[in-house]
Amino acid sequence: MSTETEPATVAAEEVTPHREPVLRTVVRNPTVVTFAVLVVIILGFTVAEPSLFFQGDNFLQIAQNVAILTVVSVGTTFVIITAGVDLSIPAGIVLGEVFSVKALAMVGGLDADADATNAGYILAALAGGVLAGLVIGGINGLVVAYLRVPPLLATLGTLGAGLGMALVLQKGVNTATYALDPVGHGHLVPGVPNLIWIGLIAVVAGFVLLHMAVFGRHTYAIGSNPESARRAGINVERHLLKVYLIGGLTSGIAGFLSVSYFSTTSIGGHSTDNLQAITAVALGGTSLFGGIGSIIGTLIGVWIPAILNNGLVITGVQPYWQQVAVGFVLIAAVWFDQLRRRSRDRF
């Protein structure tokens, strides 16, 4: 396997058909339809309950609630663009939570309440979450890229192993802490919860890495056709490892954020977070077969189920219908996107 960097860069540009200015790429993005779906849903609820639904603080609350899922979904976008999948997200999140509280305990900050906490405690907990994420992501990457186990099974394995490990480390019991309150409930900018900024940072970082850096072009190239990417001189294995590391990293950070927001680990929870993230990425127009996708699409994909749930509660729809609605919108949105792509391909 060649590791010379010169030809790799040149080759990658050959893989992407033609480079366009960033702005035009965004406008031509395969997420326009999904965005329209989101707008229609928002309009619908606004007409139904204008005084309750279409309010700035309602959107701020939704943004705060989806921030953690947003961080995870950014990582998942990279994984899915390589035609992979990461089912181990709940394990990454739960281990991230566990490592965060373990790190907090190590520096003696576990029982510090919101007033007595300090930046050192918070950084220690963050480091714990990051470490957990890198471990899970690293194992996923090594197994998928080098042992060539299909990602579905590899990450299914680490899902079970990681959740089990969390139970072992915690002896089956959750740990509560209020030391991370400044992250989960603080407002550095008055009126805008910190979690929203963290979600935004993840989106911007993901956007830059995917759409404006060589790293992103290699990711698309591998997702479209790993063999031609390899022939073009990309070190496919090493790149896949990095992609799964990003996926693990975002899960681990999400674990840290989850402890911050909910003030406790939830070792039995998060079981559907992987499906929620995959739903968001798919809604956002990222192809599960790889090679196509965008961060902005994922951001919209995170918001559609969140808006639906919020709006259906506000309009007083019977709770059982919420799941039904989200399911159908997922199918409809992906179908519209397919239609649009097929019609484009004809020309």
């Binding site: 705060q64 899922l69 019991v173 003030s263 039995g268 929870g269 079981s271 559907t272």
Partner: protein
């Protein structure tokens, strides 16, 4: 090159599988049943609903205490998850060791019935603790919390917290179709309709799917629709966690009181931090004590009470240190 990787990979997998089976084999560890008269030295087994849960650990503590008193040899087992496919193999292993009595919290009302029936037919006396099975022929005694009454207690707790004031209240439960939480919800709704008529239900029961995130977003949306909400009954831990977080993020902590269910270390921490203002605690310790008692009666051929409903009690910050209350807080270890 690639082939060698594959070989290494499958070797790792094979070793892993061997380890797993080897560990699984340990579970059937049987200590030969000793004869002896009366109860002394008789083997009892407590099969928990899930390992490591403070509720079941407290039940274990009660059962062990009673077993010690009676001179019974009590062994404790439990699956890693609340899942009949994990519990049933353990039950079969227990059956092979032919204990005199089995106290069991079955994981599924239907799927757990077959192995329990087999155990019962081999002469082991079966006592169902906490959860049950549909088949009424299984178990000489069934001991569980009256969850309906627990729900009524939750309404009582909210009423006390709010000083009998009028207002809208809401129930956020886990998922529809879980017998214990459904009974809690029914009890709460009944109490609101008959006894605490100062309350009105703000909407149908909402569900968190046991996810704090969902609970948080649901309660925030409800607070938009019902800004004058005064109380929430959250029927389990994660739901209460999410509800409390959502209320806090919406800046309504002072206005909305939250009543949670169960009194494990996590819930007590929530109570002390002020996220939750009251808890309805079950009495798993008592269930364990009475379970062993009934099992012993059955083994000795004495009369057995077929159904025992244990009560629950209200825990608040104020009565938390009262020894009569604190003894019912669930334990991490005995």
């Amino acid at each position: 090159m690639r082939d060698r990787r594959r070989v290494v990979g499958s070797a790792v997998l094979a070793v892993g599988l061997m380890l797993t089976t080897a560990c699984g084999g340990d579970d059937s560890g049987s200590s030969g049943s000793s004869g002896g008269g009366g109860l002394a030295g008789k083997k009892f087994v407590l099969m928990q609903g899930v390992k490591g849960d403070p509720f079941y650990i407290s039940m274990e503590c009660g059962a062990k205490e009673k077993a010690k008193e009676l001179g019974v040899d009590l062994q404790v087992q439990g699956p890693d998850k609340f899942d009949a496919t994990l519990q049933n193999p353990l039950l079969d292993a227990v059956a092979a060791s032919k204990p005199a009595a089995l106290l069991v919290a079955p994981n599924d009302v239907k799927a757990s019935a077959a192995p329990l029936k087999r155990i019962q037919e081999r002469g082991t006396k079966v006592v169902l603790v906490d959860t049950t099975v549909d088949d009424p022929s299984i178990g000489v005694s069934r001991i569980a919390t009256d969850n309906n009454l627990g729900g009524q207690k939750a309404a009582e707790a909210l009423n006390t917290l709010l000083g009998g004031a009028k207002g809208k209240v809401l129930v956020v439960s886990v998922d529809p179709g879980i017998s214990s939480t459904d009974a809690r919800v029914a009890g709460f709704n009944e109490a609101v309709k008959t006894k605490y008529t100062n309350f009105t239900l703000a909407s149908d029961t909402q569900y968190s799917h046991n996810s704090p995130q969902t609970a948080a977003s649901v309660i925030q949306a409800e607070l938009r629709r019902n800004p004058d909400l005064v109380g929430v009954f959250a029927t389990n831990l994660f739901t209460a966690q999410g509800v409390a977080t959502g209320i806090r993020a919406a800046g309504k902590s002072n206005q909305v009181k939250v009543v949670g269910f169960d009194a494990g270390p996590d819930q007590i921490k929530q109570l002390q931090a002020g996220d939750v203002q009251a808890l309805v605690a079950q009495k798993p310790y008592d269930i364990g004590v009475q379970g062993v008692e009934q099992a012993a009666n059955a083994v000795e051929g004495k009369p057995v009470t077929a159904k025992i409903d244990t009560e629950s009690l209200i825990v608040t910050k104020d009565n938390l240190n009262d020894p009569e209350v604190s003894k019912y807080i669930y334990k991490d270890s005995c």
